[in-house]
C-alpha cells in the first residue's frame, strides 16, 4: 500500500468519490457545446483561415514572401519553430519524467499538458515544412532511395538529426497520450446513450474493459514508455540547439546550448501549461482537481528553470569575454546595445527578472499573477529565440553585408496560422476528450484526498 506523509496538502479536494471524478470530467464531453465554446472556436477558426491564406501565399510565392535577406537567412520561421517545439516539452516531461519520479500531482494535469505538447509540435512541424520553401519536396529530408545514385541524406548534419528527433517525438508522444486515454474513452463509451457516440468512443477505446490482466500490462507499458520518453524529451531540444551550436556563427557556436535550450524549453512549456490550465480550470470548474498546490508546484518549476536560463545567459556572456575571440565579444555587446537592444532587454526582463517574483509564496498562489507571468514568460522565450537567431546573423563579418530584418505581413500571417491551428486543436480536445486523466486521478484519490477514508487501513 502507498504511504503518503500527512503534512502534504491533498491533491484532490472537496471530498470527491470515484463517481464524482467521472461525472466532473465526463459531463463536459457529454453536454452540448456551450455558447462560449462556439465563440472561442469561431475565433480560432478565423485565425486559422487568415493564417491559412498567408500560408497559401507563402507556398505559391515562395519564402521570398518573408522579410529574409542574404544576411539574415533565418528569422521568424526558425524563431517560431524553436518557440513552439520548446512549448511542446512540458507535456511529455510531466507525464514521463514526473511518472518516473513518482510525482502524483502530475495526474491532474498530464492529459491537457500532453495534448498541448502534441499540438505545439504540430505547429513547430508546420514551420519546418514552410521554411523548406518547396514543401512538396519535404520527403527529401528522409533517407529514401532515389534516382540520383541513391544520394542519401547527410547523417553528419544536425538538420537531419532534427528530422528524426521531431518526428520520433511527435509520434511517440501521440502514442503515449492515446494509450493513456484508452481507459477514459472506455468510461465515456460505457456512459454513452446515443448509438453514434457509443460507436465512435467504442472504436477509439479499443474494447477496453479494465480487466486486471490488461491493467497489469498497461502499467508496464506506461512505465517503459515513460522510461524511453524521458531521454527522448531531453534529446529533442538538445538536437534543436545543435542546429545552431554545431555551426561556426559567433553567438551560436556555444557548448552551453543543449542544457540551456532544454531548460528554456521546460520553462516555456510550463508557462504555456499554466496559461491554458488556468483558463480550463476556471471554465470547467476543476478547482478541486487542479488545486492551488498544483499551480504552486508548476510555478516553482517555472522559477527554477527561469533561473537556470538566467545563469545560462550570464555564462554565455562571460564565455564570450573569456574566450578572447573578438567576434564573440562583439556579437554579445551588439545583442545588448546594438540595433536589437530592445529584443535583448525584453528577453532579460521577461525571462530572468520576472520569474524571480515567484520566490514569494503569495505570488505563486495568486491566479492573476501566475496567469500574467505565464504569458510574460512566453513572450520572453519568443524574444530569446529571436535574439539568438537574428542578432547573431544580422552583423556579418563584412560590414558591407550588414542588414537588418523586418517581418512582412506573411511572416506575421504564418505565425497567426499556427496560433489558429493550436487553439482549434486545443478547443476540440477540451470539448470531445476528457481533459483530466480520470483513471489516474482515481488511483491517487484515496492516498491524497482531504476526506478521511472510511476504513482504517
Amino acid at each position: 500500500m502507498h504511504i503518503s506523509s500527512a503534512v502534504r496538502e491533498p491533491l484532490v479536494t472537496g471530498g470527491k468519490s470515484y463517481g464524482d471524478v467521472t461525472y466532473d470530467i465526463v459531463r463536459h464531453v457529454e453536454n452540448k457545446p456551450t455558447k462560449l465554446w462556439f465563440i472561442v472556436m469561431g475565433f480560432s477558426l478565423v485565425l486559422l483561415s487568415l493564417g491559412g491564406f498567408s500560408l497559401y501565399k507563402t507556398w505559391t510565392i515562395g519564402i521570398g514572401a518573408w522579410g529574409l535577406n542574404k544576411t539574415v537567412g533565418w528569422a521568424w520561421d526558425i524563431t517560431n519553430f524553436v518557440w513552439w517545439v520548446g512549448i511542446g516539452h512540458a507535456g511529455t516531461l510531466i507525464s514521463a519524467v514526473l511518472l518516473l519520479f513518482r510525482q502524483k500531482w502530475r495526474t491532474a494535469v498530464n492529459r491537457a499538458a500532453e495534448a498541448m505538447t502534441i499540438f505545439a509540435v504540430f505547429c513547430a512541424g508546420s514551420f519546418i515544412l514552410m521554411h523548406m520553401g518547396r514543401t512538396w519536396l519535404a520527403h527529401w529530408a528522409l533517407p529514401l532511395p532515389n534516382t540520383y545514385g541513391s544520394l542519401w541524406v547527410n547523417f553528419n548534419s544536425p538538420l537531419v538529426w532534427d528530422v528524426f528527433a521531431i518526428s520520433t517525438y511527435l509520434s511517440v508522444s501521440l502514442v503515449f497520450w492515446y494509450i493513456g486515454m484508452v481507459p477514459d474513452l472506455a468510461t465515456i463509451r460505457d456512459r454513452a446513450t446515443k448509438p453514434l457516440t457509443k460507436a465512435i468512443y467504442g472504436a477509439f477505446s479499443l474494447g477496453w474493459t479494465g480487466g486486471a490482466k490488461h491493467w497489469q500490462r498497461y502499467e508496464a507499458v506506461s512505465l517503459i514508455l515513460a522510461a524511453i520518453s524521458t531521454p527522448l524529451v531531453l534529446s529533442v531540444h538538445t538536437i534543436v540547439s545543435m542546429d545552431f551550436a554545431t555551426s561556426v556563427i559567433p553567438g551560436w557556436h556555444t557548448t552551453i546550448f543543449p542544457p540551456y535550450f532544454v531548460a528554456g524549453a521546460i520553462f516555456s512549456g510550463f508557462a504555456m501549461v499554466l496559461t491554458l490550465l488556468l483558463v480550463t480550470r476556471k471554465v470547467y470548474k476543476l478547482e478541486h482537481y487542479i488545486t492551488m498546490t498544483h499551480i504552486e508546484t508548476m510555478n516553482k518549476i517555472v522559477m527554477l528553470t527561469g533561473s537556470v536560463v538566467g545563469v545560462a545567459y550570464i555564462t554565455e556572456f562571460f564565455m564570450a569575454w573569456y574566450s578572447g575571440v573578438e567576434y564573440e565579444q562583439y556579437c554579445f555587446l551588439n545583442r545588448m546595445f546594438g540595433p536589437y537592444w530592445w529584443a535583448y532587454w525584453s528577453m532579460m526582463a521577461c525571462n530572468v527578472f520576472s520569474p524571480q517574483l515567484l520566490w514569494f509564496k503569495s505570488i505563486r498562489r495568486n491566479l492573476v499573477a501566475t496567469f500574467t507571468l505565464s504569458i510574460i514568460v512566453n513572450i520572453g522565450m519568443w524574444f530569446e529565440r529571436f535574439v539568438i537567431i537574428v542578432s547573431s546573423l544580422h552583423r556579418d563579418y563584412i560590414p558591407s553585408s550588414w542588414r537588418d530584418f523586418s517581418p512582412t505581413i506573411y511572416d506575421v500571417g504564418d505565425y497567426i496560422f499556427t496560433f489558429g491551428l493550436f487553439f482549434t486543436l486545443f478547443f476540440l480536445f477540451a470539448k470531445y476528450l476528457p481533459v483530466v486523466n480520470m483513471a489516474e486521478v482515481k488511483s491517487v484519490l484515496k492516498s491524497s484526498t482531504d476526506k478521511p477514508s472510511h476504513k482504517s487501513h
Binding site: 541513391s150 553528419n156 538529426w161 528524426f164 481507459p183 460505457d190 474493459t209 520518453s229 476504513k455
Partner: protein, 177 residues
C-alpha cells in the same frame, strides 16, 4: 437460455480495498475467478489473482535492439559504404555523428513495437466488441466475474461466498458464444 451461452455471476464491490481483501477468501472457498474489472489500476490485484509478471519489458528490449541495429546498419551502409563522401578528409565512419539518429530510431521502434504487441496480445482493436459485465466497472465499481462453466459450486453457494466477502450486489450476466 440456450446451452451455447456462457453464463457468469457478477459480484460488484464498492471499494478497491474490499475487492483486494475478498479475493484470497473467495479463492479459498473454491470459487474460480474469471477476471476482476476496475476503473483504475489497483496495485496488488495481479498478485492476489495469481497472475504472472508481464513480459512486455522483454518485448520492449528486443524491439529497442532491433531499432538500434537497424539505425546503425542503415546509416553506416548509406554514409560509409554505398556513397562514401570525402568531407574535409574526415572519417567516413564517424560514429559519434550516428548517435542521435540511432537513438531516435531505438526509441521509435521500442515505443511502437511494444504498444502494438500490447494491443495484439490483449485483443485491443477498434473492432473489438468488449465483454462488459457491468458498465460501472469503468466508472466507480469493482466488478468480479465468475464463469459458471468452470465452477463446481452451485449458483447459490457462489452468491453466498461473494456477499459474505463484501460484494454489495450480485447479478447474472450472459454472453452469446
Amino acid at each position: 437460455m440456450s446451452a451455447t451461452n456462457t453464463k457468469y455471476i457478477v459480484g460488484i464491490f464498492d471499494d478497491e480495498e474490499d475487492v483486494l481483501h475478498a479475493i484470497p477468501h473467495i479463492k479459498e472457498s473454491g470459487v474460480k475467478i474469471h477476471e476482476v474489472f476496475t476503473p483504475f489500476p489497483v496495485h496488488g490485484l495481479d498478485e492476489v489473482l495469481g497472475y504472472q509478471r508481464s513480459r512486455i519489458d522483454i518485448v520492449a528490449f528486443l524491439f529497442g535492439l532491433t531499432g538500434f541495429l537497424s539505425g546503425l546498419t542503415m546509416i553506416s551502409y548509406m554514409l560509409s559504404f554505398d556513397w562514401p563522401m570525402n568531407i574535409g578528409g574526415k572519417s567516413n565512419m564517424p560514429f559519434p555523428d550516428f548517435i542521435p539518429v540511432t537513438f531516435e530510431l531505438t526509441v521509435l521502434f521500442t515505443a511502437f513495437g511494444m504498444v502494438i504487441t500490447f494491443l495484439i496480445i490483449s485483443g485491443l482493436t477498434p473492432w473489438t466488441v468488449p465483454q462488459i459485465f457491468d458498465i460501472r466497472g469503468t466508472d466507480d465499481k469493482f466488478v468480479m466475474a465468475i464463469d459458471l462453466a468452470h465452477n463446481k459450486l452451485s449458483d447459490e453457494q457462489i452468491k453466498e461466498v461473494l456477499t459474505s466477502n463484501g460484494a454489495t450486489e450480485v447479478n447474472y450476466k450472459e454472453f452469446k458464444s
